[in-house]
């Protein structure tokens, strides 16, 4: 199947339910984290070019850009994690009668963890 069709189907949120929207977020954050891993491998491989090259790249992510990038990454991690736990529970056949409630709890937990994480990142970079 062609990539556009796959992306359209996974990330079609218009007219879709809360459950499908959460599925899309789970997939999207998974893709984001996979890309980050790739970026991270490139980042640490600059070590072979010497300390200066590594520090220069790290320096790019200091300040505002660092706050935004780290916050986005943390949000992706948290969403993937909390929605993943929800998914693991229902995919094993548990809590099916209360899956909506479980999903709402997963989102609520994600929002709290994201807020705390962004605050900690902001304090660390300040």
């Amino acid at each position: 199947m062609e990539l556009v069709g796959v992306l359209k189907s996974w990330f079609r949120v218009r007219g879709r339910s809360f459950e499908h929207f959460s599925f899309s977020v789970r997939r999207l954050t998974g893709v984001v984290m996979a890309l980050y891993l790739l970026l991270h491998l490139i980042d640490i491989s600059t070590l072979v070019l010497g300390k200066e090259a590594y520090d220069a790249l790290l320096g790019l992510f200091g300040g505002r850009l660092g706050l935004v990038a780290d916050s986005l990454l943390w949000s992706a991690l948290v969403l993937h994690g909390t929605l993943g736990v929800y998914s693991a529970i229902v995919e094993l056949g548990y809590m099916l009668e209360h899956r909506r409630l479980l999903l709402i709890l997963a989102w609520a937990l994600a929002v709290v963890l994201i807020a705390v994480g962004v605050w900690v990142i902001a304090c660390a970079l300040a």
Binding site: V6, H20, V90, E91
Partner: protein
């Protein structure tokens, strides 16, 4: 009231296009009624499926303003946006013509369904016996709504797995316990949300998984 019916046309002879029909209809009329009127008075080549007209046969499933529904039980006034209704064929199936799709992807696997889910109908045509599923209307809406069924063509699909789950008396064919079977599902649950008869295929698949994990169901072959 005036509505603008936009139909996604797919013909074997030429690519895809959207045709626009201006129609006069009451908000309480069904989308199927309006499509039928267009086919009778506007364009006789418009192809679509229907039979019972009251949400039982499952033939009239289509995507209406982006959402899978049975056209015969969908009031046009409830789904129109700014007087516009866009109708498209179900997703996840090969389009035969316009709004008619080939559901053999779903029906072709019914040999996996054990007879406990089937009811034999009284009517006979020569010596052919009719069989109908008890609950599922075999509309295919769940396939169209499922992001996995749309992107993984070998996936057995929500309705079929749900039917197997409800009929399995301790044994299922090996394909059910495979990548194309229950393990392909990733809990989007759009199938359960869209199913017009509340058959809840998503939940049934997960229950079958649990029974497989617990060893309560034997895998054949």
């Amino acid at each position: 009231m005036k509505y603008r019916l936009v139909v996604r046309r797919v013909k074997a002879t030429g690519g895809r296009r959207f045709d626009v029909f201006e129609v006069e209809a009451e908000p309480d009329e069904s989308v199927l009624d309006v499509v039928e009127r267009v086919s009778l008075q506007g364009d006789r080549t418009l192809t679509f499926e229907h039979a019972c007209h009251h949400g039982v046969c499952g033939a009239c499933g289509m995507v209406i303003n982006g959402v899978e529904r049975l056209a015969c039980i969908t009031r046009i006034g409830e789904v129109a946006r700014g007087g516009v209704v866009v109708v498209e064929p179900l997703r996840g199936f090969r389009v035969v013509s316009d709004l008619a799709v080939d559901k053999s992807r779903m029906f072709g696997k019914y040999r996996l369904v054990t007879p406990t889910t089937l009811e034999k109908l009284d009517s006979r045509l020569d010596r052919v016996e009719f069989e109908k599923l008890y609950d599922c209307t075999e509309c295919g809406i769940c396939y169209s709504a499922c992001p996995i069924a749309n992107t993984f063509k070998d996936y057995l699909g929500p309705s079929l797995l749900a039917i197997v789950s409800r009929s399995a008396e301790g044994r299922v064919p090996a394909v059910i316990d495979s990548r194309a079977g229950v393990w392909a599902c990733h809990a989007a649950f759009e199938c359960s949300v869209r199913c017009p008869v509340d058959f809840k295929p998503g939940e049934s698949i997960m229950r079958l998984r649990r029974r497989l994990l617990k060893g309560e169901v034997e895998v054949e072959g």
